[in-house]
Subunit: 227 residues, 2 copies
Amino acid sequence: MNDLSETRSPSSSVGDYLKAVWELAVDSGGTASTKGVAARLSVSPASVSNMFARLQEMGLVRYERYRGATLTERGREEALRLVRRHRLIETFLLEHLGYDWQEVHDEAERLEHAVSDGFTERLAELLGHPDHDPHGDPIPSAEGSLEVDDSMALSQVVAGRRVRISKVRDEDAAMLDYLGDRNLVPGRWLRVREVRELDGVVVVEDEEAEVYALGDPLARSIFVRND
Amino acid sequence: MNDLSETRSPSSSVGDYLKAVWELAVDSGGTASTKGVAARLSVSPASVSNMFARLQEMGLVRYERYRGATLTERGREEALRLVRRHRLIETFLLEHLGYDWQEVHDEAERLEHAVSDGFTERLAELLGHPDHDPHGDPIPSAEGSLEVDDSMALSQVVAGRRVRISKVRDEDAAMLDYLGDRNLVPGRWLRVREVRELDGVVVVEDEEAEVYALGDPLARSIFVRND
DNA sequence: ATATAAGATTAGGCAGGGCTAAACTCAATA
DNA sequence: TATTGAGTTTAGCCCTGCCTAATCTTATAT
Ligand SMILES: [Mn+2]
Ligand SMILES: [Mn+2]
Ligand SMILES: [Mn+2]
Ligand SMILES: [Mn+2]
């Protein structure tokens, strides 16, 4: 298949850098900055400059001094391979091992580098080949394709719409728990009653006619699709 | 040296060295040789000398130049922690992910370093707190105690005895598969018909009166208990 | 008691990944 | 257009782990 699986698999550091570039490049025109990656991985900017050069050397990234790094096709494949593992592992931890949201991410962050392709696919089998993880992030296919994301933040919906929760941000575990407790999870339908410019509060009504006033941070943690 | 090194968990290399010392020290009066560890881990003797010094520095091993290394209490604890993880993971791979013996060990060898204590205990829970892995090796308790092994190789049993298989060596996957196919697995009873000095062949009869003539390598891969 | 070889250690390297401090770029201002 | 500071890179260093070659030690056999 790809050249990486035939050669030696990249270290966990390399993988985490690739994922960071992938995640940051989404909303930055394909390019990730030194500073952004440094912040994301809690390393110094100097370390990132160094790694960018090495990643380019390995053919995983295109890199121009002072201009940031862009994933090559091979780099993207490797990043998505890790994202697939990460999300499948998170699903397993939540559904089979009784983890809660606080704990899931760190564990997956380490395990994603230790499991083999064989493990990953058997795990997918065990889980019934899910295409989304429990909070709604799409799971890349084994072949490396990823669903295009056409959802929008709840804070950007026009009032009156009926929408369906497609995912919730997994960055803040406390918010995840809050939303989980209220069953504001992927798959649920909401009626948007009000989107208040003034303070960013979004008022929604759920399937049981329960009404919630969600502050801006929460409203931006919930992603929905029209229709 | 500082208190941080006390807290930070050992790298996977350190852990594998500790396990190697533990495994080799069993039948060497508590001490593992440079050469033995080097062979076991497929590294050069020079690397082992170097690591022995570092392990002593970390308080995990007692080391005398030219004399080999012995685990300290802390070293033993760490080794057993890894052995526990390793055996629980192997059990999971075999019973829940449909692995066969060929593949199990390598995967566990990597995963044992990536999982947390929390993961390990939840996995134990999922598996029903097994005290032996599928081929009969005892699983150390979470507190670090390990069953004393009073079993003997089938090749050392006196003819006529009725014995019970307690474990099978997991070093050679082909033998494991051979024994598994014939249901010569932990828990089974055998009647020892003959132990032939000449060629080391051991003839046994199983519960279904099936008779097997096992060559020396196989006979030494099967461990049994009297009673 | 001594020679010898197996085993072990030292010496000297190298690559991967980190760090801090100092120097440099470049884009946005004044 | 000149200045300036945020962002980046470079320089120089550190630690982990691994290697080969050269040099011991030690146990054993003479
Ligand atoms: Mn996730
Ligand atoms: Mn990771
Ligand atoms: Mn085992
Ligand atoms: Mn290991």
